[in-house]
Symmetry: D2
Subunit: 353 residues, 4 copies
């Protein structure tokens, strides 16, 4: 596999916000990438990163970024080729397109381009081949750059949890989420709303889970991404958990395997990141937990650097075929880590040359 001789400079668009901070934290000691450039709103432009940023994450701001100058989110000013986008949805469309047009490879966590037919929506363990849509994207848009995206945080957990079921033909999925407060950014959810409470609604989340899941689990066929025709229904809830989205899933399959086959398929699942040995890839992307009360977000979410998805309680479903629990780290596997893994895949496939 292609590996860099020296660390590749990267930028973070929206780098002073909460999602941007997750990128900067995740990339702190990355073996391939080094954050050398940060873009933010014009209010922050011209300041040092340490002045422009109220650091909200556990621990302290990484030393390497403290003295970086913050620029406006516009091409130029020495912006490196690879740009991670943590920009707000209200501005992401314009910013990401401007960078792609200027020749940058934009690896975005924003929702704006996810569902466009010529933009890959990647979970590298599942659909690394969706990168084949990139030539069409460039042709359609006249870009020398690229936009590639990762899914919504809860969608990542669901689709990873379903990955091992895919060979058996996923037909129908009903999922209920219990999502962590960190998924809402900062200040995000008011404590008066969530303390000792459940909020049974997250704006736009159910729709995103339903359509993104179909696209991710779809095939690249002909020269397009053909969404899976499976029907997906999501119930999304916020619960008073700090990190980690837990989902309960019932799934109907074309062909019903045994519990043993499934458990073995889960633990044995390996995708392209594992085959390539990408630096952020978990050795075992899906971990089946035997204890009948696991996984649990507070106890399990930090394992494997937050990049694996934990599955448990696989059992027969009286309505569909099987039901189970899945857990993933929403700000790592579901956001910054997802995008970085996408960029590693793209580098390994030569798309950053």
């Amino acid at each position: 596999m292609k590996q860099p001789q020296q660390r590749i400079p990267v930028g973070v668009l929206g780098g002073t916000g909460m999602v941007g901070q997750h990128f900067i934290k995740f990339l702190r000691n990355h073996p391939w990438f080094e954050v050398t450039w940060v873009g933010a709103s014009d209010r922050s432009a011209g300041k040092k990163y340490s002045e422009a940023t109220a650091w909200r994450l556990d621990g302290t701001m990484p030393e390497g970024v403290r003295n970086l100058t913050v620029y406006e989110c516009k091409p130029g000013n020495g912006a490196p080729r690879l740009m991670f986008s943590a920009t707000d949805a209200s501005v992401a469309t314009e910013i990401e397109q401007a960078f792609a047009n200027a020749g940058h490879v934009v690896v975005s966590n924003s929702k704006n381009h996810r569902m466009e037919s010529d933009v890959p929506l990647l979970v590298p363990e599942i659909n690394a081949d969706h990168l084949k849509i990139v030539p069409l994207q460039r042709k359609n848009r006249g870009w020398s750059g690229i936009i590639a995206t990762n899914p919504n945080c809860s969608t990542v957990v669901l689709t990873m949890g379903l990955a091992a079921f895919r060979p058996f033909g996923i037909k129908r999925v009903i999922v209920t989420t219990m999502q962590a407060i960190s998924g809402a950014g900062y200040p995000g959810v008011a404590s008066m709303d969530i303390n000792a409470n459940v909020i049974p609604f997250i704006g736009g989340e159910e729709e995103k889970m339903q359509v993104e899941t179909q696209k991710i689990l779809g095939d690249f066929s002909g020269d397009q991404i053909v969404p899976l025709s499976a029907r997906v229904s999501a119930h999304c809830n916020r619960v008073p958990v700090v990190d980690g989205h837990t989902v309960t899933v019932s799934v109907e399959l074309d062909r019903k395997p045994t519990l043993e086959e499934l458990r073995s398929a889960i633990n044995g699942y390996r995708g392209m990141p594992q085959k390539l040995g990408l630096p952020s890839a978990p050795a075992q992307p899906l971990v089946y937990m035997e204890a009948n009360d696991r996984p649990q977000p507070r106890r399990d979410v930090e394992r494997d650097n937050g990049m694996a998805v934990f599955v448990g309680r696989l059992r027969e479903c009286p309505v569909l075929d099987y039901k189970f629990i899945a857990l993933g780290h929403n700000t790592v596997r579901g956001a910054a880590g997802a995008a970085v893994l996408n960029a590693e895949l793209m580098y390994a496939e030569g798309m950053l040359d």
Copy 2:
């Protein structure tokens, strides 16, 4: 309707435990019933209630019970005809049968007899007619008394939430619960297990929800209770909420009504307790909340004395027909209040004569 001229003496079996305390609190100012007798383990027998009991509920122990003598859970010692059972499952079978055999009407919150074919499992708004099984029970068992039961706390919320769907033919139900810690009694769930966490397992709960729901929604036909043949699948979770079980439900129907028909059926739903004007009956048993993020346990659970069930977010389900949220108070509507409403129904129907 039959109404008592003066308050009827009642006993509480297992009255010193957490569930028993909920009974005593709920009955504090009851217009029909007055707690005059408490049974507990032989360790407590002979003590005053106030000495035998570590009061765990909010507020203080009701004055009226402080000086009651605690007896062993055996017939005799002046035990009144109507006995509420809050006994632990490990001893409930024997105790409840002994009292029924001795002529007592045992209105039980315990799980032990719920699924026996000649024992009514009541949600009075739904299946008040299941009391017709009582003559068969007496005949089968040779009892001069009766055992009647209420469902598991999460089952009450689910079945009440489904009540208005029943005329449209319930075929398949997938439910995920987010259950409050008070459902596990005291000491119940360790704080190290649930603080800022989700526990995706509650022992025996899913099985109870699945079979109890079928029995409750079944018809009394011929001289038996015929469980509904609908398939029900439950995912049960504990979340860090004090009171109130929240459930997400997807349901498939024989005949799909419009959203408007359903909303109207929910708000307009009235059952036997409302028709009879039973004292613990909520005026409107099902309350549809229009706000897109309601009901919420901390904000809504105490409304209507904890006896109504709140429904929200009714919308199309891409997999089954409709999906929605329901919330109910697990220790009131799901336990003590449920049993008291059962007893009120039985009194009104002349079964305590």
Copy 3:
């Protein structure tokens, strides 16, 4: 005592905000006062209260205010004589003075005027006589109206907790607070900040507790309020509790009574509201709890309509003389209820004539 023949119309300045909602909720069934007028920002002016207000409190918006027209916070438009002020500190000075100047009696929860030497800072159980400063206020300011204030929420709990110590000469006080999230309004504290956490800082709170306590416990002497010369040191913390500020207090006295004298002084404490039988006055303003782990906010805060202060664990302090715990409801006794009690006192004393 003076009692109204019919309910007196009152207004709420800042009535659409979180504090304003607490006023409206607290006054819902008030025997003397009826909310007939609401003032808010010009953004809300002209709307109905139900349209202008996102109701954040448990339960639903009181029917009586739903159709009130919201006005700008300016005298006129039929504003009644008695105005409760729940206005934000950024605008309270100007608004409250304008109303006092126009002849209104402004009973304010805002901090702005609390420490002015001619403004009473009232805890009616302690310093009802501080109302004697009103003539000086009117003379100084040339107002036909009045401004009277209640303390910061944590100060109320501390000073009430100290009330029974006052006859023994309070010399030095060290207090640590564990304050509820509802004290910060809405959206207030971000859940990412407080979930499973302690925030050891609340801006301006320690200073307020220190100086307000001295003023409240001071004497009206000559024609001025002479602050108590006791030294007070506060450590203020936010904890993940919904309602109820808990404080630990060590206190040094001029004359050290016995524990028995103190406990008896606490339970026997009665102030002017009790003597007058004001409608919001708790029968027993200070309640000593004997259990060694009480009071506790979640379990005790709603007792006595949130208007009593609960004291526990009174014991010798190895450094000062005694130490204890006190708990009070921050949005009731510490805010809306405090102001309403002030207004009741002022009415009973004839100051609303």
Copy 4:
């Protein structure tokens, strides 16, 4: 400094319990010590560690201990010389003395021997010289072994927080704790007690903090440990935090330094573990945080492997001289890590030869 050529075998008494698990987790990759022996109750004796233990901590049971045989807590069975004691207070006295008598060096986290005059109660950054009491202990008791202890978890945080004040003469201390639930072990605090609540009482905790602090801050003088005569008053509370005890402290000194001197003394503080470079010693044992709302338990407790104590908000106290916040990890710095650091110190000083 003395360093081992190969890892030294160690045992853990009470190794299957919650505290024992913390020892085993903390020692997992320890450069000097290797857990080769586990003692527990006779109920567990004879089983493999993995069979005898319900692992309660985050992550999974370390591989190295899974197959260890569990023995009764009696000398013999190949028990190594160095034994960490995580035994319950109800049995610790007898067990620890039996091992010390049999020649073992018992490094105990239990409270039983802490306050005995010939037993060192160590915080190695503060009173490493208290080990000089060991010869007297051996002489008094006729032991070839040793018992050495670490303080109660909250005492560690307080005394470390006070360490830099010691040269200025500590006279009086008032401390309020906000303690994490993990301090109570498992199942420990019921969630019904602590969810969204404060419990203002922890049995025996205040007394321990008061006397242990005096002993730890005392001098070794003549041939005895002379407790500091400072007066200490503690208010101990449980709050819904997972890990990390936060304390507010007011302190009076013989000589009042400037704020600058103190901040500099805190950050510059180094004790014997730092001088010796002990493997578990934090490079900087006291870390002063400049942000006005830090330290916070959820955000800061895991820094520096949980072995540093974080101090913040140092400011003048209107009653005593200064006040501040301190935070430490109760199960690491306050328990397992404390004992391991003690053992490292004893090894470095040649007491394990």
